[in-house]
């Protein structure tokens, strides 16, 4: 697929502060691409550079192969959905949506047709004449989306567009956004700090931290095979156990146990590493199978979560592991793990990642 966006060694400084630090990314045409990270990680600054509101201090930004870092926002073929929606309150819904087309001198009949089309796409046709301050949060969000999509941009930029909505509406809009993206086939660049949102919607995710891209890949890659401690910790809950590398692909942890783990290249005897295991990959008691790494511990806490039960197990010597046990047809009442009771844990060696 053709490349829609190229970000080449882009750095952005505000005075002394480095907001974006030597970021390089390639985003393919039609891709749903997310920039994920905590606040202040540089994801919004990166998006604003794509829109043209900020000029990179160093590096290049390419739209369809053309460098655009010095092209003002009103001449770029990209549109943005803002976090605050930024609707024009003195105009009604359809006038808001028509704003971009009118600036580009599209003829009147065509404007009317495309505005109606865009409002239908976001399911808001019956509110075309409403004032923006009469709309609910979800409806305002849809107007912002229609106002951007109606221009048929090469790329749509979305800055935490669902952040202000309540959880239920957010879930619903996630599904709808993804549907709309498939329907219009436009490249979406989506900024969010919500890992679940990024995982559920994206084709690829770039995880950012302190101005840098820590990892970029498909949701499964980023979740299952985090390359950095930060990524493992930021996406989902992750157990990190510190240990020392010994001979024969084993890692010795604080309580003296030697664990089988797939060591990455370049890790040698004596190195200190972190073992990362996702809570849902940990088997407890009867579920521990042959071929698993197995260890003993003491239950410290149990949290009942409905579809699952989360137990915190102490391995001794300060190490703690969180395990997530799915409620299934086999399990009776999930009150098996009383705090203080001994428990056996296990996981398949391939589910354990070694992070430097």
């Amino acid at each position: 697929m053709a490349e829609a966006i190229g970000i080449q060694n882009v750095t952005k400084r505000f005075g002394e502060h480095v907001a974006v630090n030597d970021v390089s990314l390639e985003i393919a045409e039609g891709e749903f691409f997310s920039l994920l990270g905590p606040s202040g990680c540089g994801k919004t600054t990166t998006l604003r550079m794509l829109a043209g509101f900020e000029v990179p201090t160093e590096g290049h930004i390419l739209l369809e192969g053309q460098p655009v870092e010095n092209v003002p926002p009103y001449k770029r073929d990209v549109n943005m959905v803002f976090q605050s929606y930024a609707l024009f309150d003195h105009l009604d819904v359809s006038e808001n949506v028509a704003f971009g087309l009118k600036r580009r001198k599209v003829d009147k009949a065509e404007v009317g047709r495309r505005v109606a089309e865009a409002l239908e796409l976001v399911n808001l046709s019956e509110r075309a004449g409403a004032r923006t301050n009469e709309l609910s949060g979800g409806q305002r969000q849809r107007v912002a989306l229609a106002r951007a999509l109606v221009n048929r941009p090469k790329v749509l930029l979305l800055d935490e567009p669902l952040g202000a909505l309540d959880l239920k509406l957010r879930r619903q809009m996630q599904v709808e956004l993804k549907q709309i993206q498939r329907e219009v086939g436009i490249t979406f660049v989506y900024v969010t700090h919500d890992q679940e949102e990024a995982l559920s919607m994206s084709d690829r995710i770039a995880v950012m931290h302190e101005g840098r891209v820590m990892q970029c890949g498909a949701p499964e890659d980023v979740y299952e095979r985090p390359s950095e401690e930060f990524v493992a910790g930021f996406i989902g809950i992750s157990n990190l156990i510190t240990g020392t590398v010994e001979d024969g692909g084993k890692v010795r942890i604080a309580n003296g146990l030697r664990i089988d783990a797939p060591l990455p290249d370049g890790v040698t005897r004596g190195d200190t590493v972190n073992l990362s295991v996702r809570p849902e990959k940990i088997a407890v008691d009867d579920d521990v199978e042959a071929g698993m790494v197995s260890l003993d511990g003491t239950v410290e806490a149990r949290v009942y979560l409905g579809v699952s039960t989360q137990i915190t197990v102490s391995l001794g010597n300060g190490d703690r592991v969180v395990a997530l046990e799915q409620a299934t047809y086999r399990s009776s009442a999930d009150d098996r793990w009383e705090p203080g009771s001994s428990v056996k844990l296990g996981w398949h060696p391939e589910h354990c990642l070694v992070l430097r």
């Binding site: 829109a51 043209g52 509101f53 003002p72 926002p73 009103y74 990209v78 549109n79 943005m80 803002f82 976090q83 605050s84 930024a86 609707l87 024009f88 309150d89 003195h90 704003f99 971009g100 600036r103 580009r104 301050n133 106002r147 951007a148 221009n151």
Partner: protein
């Protein structure tokens, strides 16, 4: 039922009535005596319009009224344009001096008017500008800018930078973004501030007194000169007319934003209330 002395604080109600009487009785007297049929400032004899007639038949007074209206109008135009531009700049500026410049805007409001008047007079005479209609206008504009800036600034602060960004994202140049999005959003505040400044300029005496030339005098200065040679009931008629002009300006400032269907009164804009 037994009543506690604080249940119905009758004395508070009386106090409130007294305050209102104190505030409005002089104004009421001026209006009443402007319709007096005899030339007395202490006995009301009957209704007549003779003092209004006298006022409108005095070409000098009539010219002064027109002059005051012209000054107020020009002041309103210039101060709203400059003050609004300043408000936009002060709110959006990321410069280090912006907070200081914001506080400086309050200074013209607290400087005693007589000081402002004398300084204006000194500057005009030092630079060698003869006092005239235009020196009054310039003096009025300087103090009016602060009022406009403060009123518009409150509104401006409630408009997200993202709204301007959105306009530019949708193909508007920076200037179009200001014209098509920012100005319509600021409009109720600009209008209210302009009419407020009109009212202030129209009845200003102190600044006008120091900056008026010899050829013609605006109405408040004219009245002041007139009463030095004795009080005439015409003063009451002039006072009443001036009050009507000022109140009309204030009433428009409150009502016009409503008429534009913005569902917010100018009163809210002026007192910087949210919502």
């Amino acid at each position: 039922m037994e009543s506690h002395p604080f249940d119905k604080p009758r004395f508070l109600r009386l106090f409130a009535i007294a305050v209102y009487l104190f505030l409005f009785a002089p104004i009421f007297v001026v209006i009443l005596f402007s319709f007096n049929s005899i030339k007395s400032l202490n006995t009301f004899d009957g209704f007549s319009l003779q003092w209004y007639e006298e006022f409108f038949n005095d070409p000098a007074l009539r010219d002064s009224l027109l002059m005051s209206l012209e000054i107020a109008f020009l002041t309103m135009l210039a101060a709203t344009v400059i003050g609004t531009a300043l408000a936009i700049g002060l709110v959006r500026s990321r410069a280090r001096w912006a907070p200081g410049a914001n506080i400086l805007m309050l200074v013209p409001l607290v400087v005693p008017e007589i000081v402002a008047g004398i300084s204006a007079l000194l500057i005009f005479s030092q630079v060698g500008i003869a006092l005239s209609f235009w020196t009054i206008v310039v003096a009025h504009i300087t103090f009016s800018i602060s009022y406009v800036t403060i009123v518009v600034r409150a509104r401006m602060a409630s408009i997200s930078q993202e709204v301007e960004d959105a306009a530019m994202d949708l193909g508007a140049t920076r200037w179009q973004a200001v014209r098509l999005v920012l100005v319509p959003a600021l409009w109720p505040a600009v209008l209210a501030a302009g009419l407020l400044v009109f009212a202030f300029s129209f009845d200003d005496f102190v600044l006008s007194f120091f900056t008026t030339g010899e050829d013609m005098q605006p109405l408040p200065v004219r009245i002041w000169s007139a009463i030095r040679f004795g009080l005439s009931p015409t003063i009451n008629a002039i006072g009443t007319l001036m009050m009507v002009v000022s109140l009309t300006a204030i009433a428009l400032a409150v009502l016009l934003p409503r008429l534009f269907g913005r569902r917010e009164s100018g009163f809210k804009v002026l007192t910087a209330q949210e919502g």
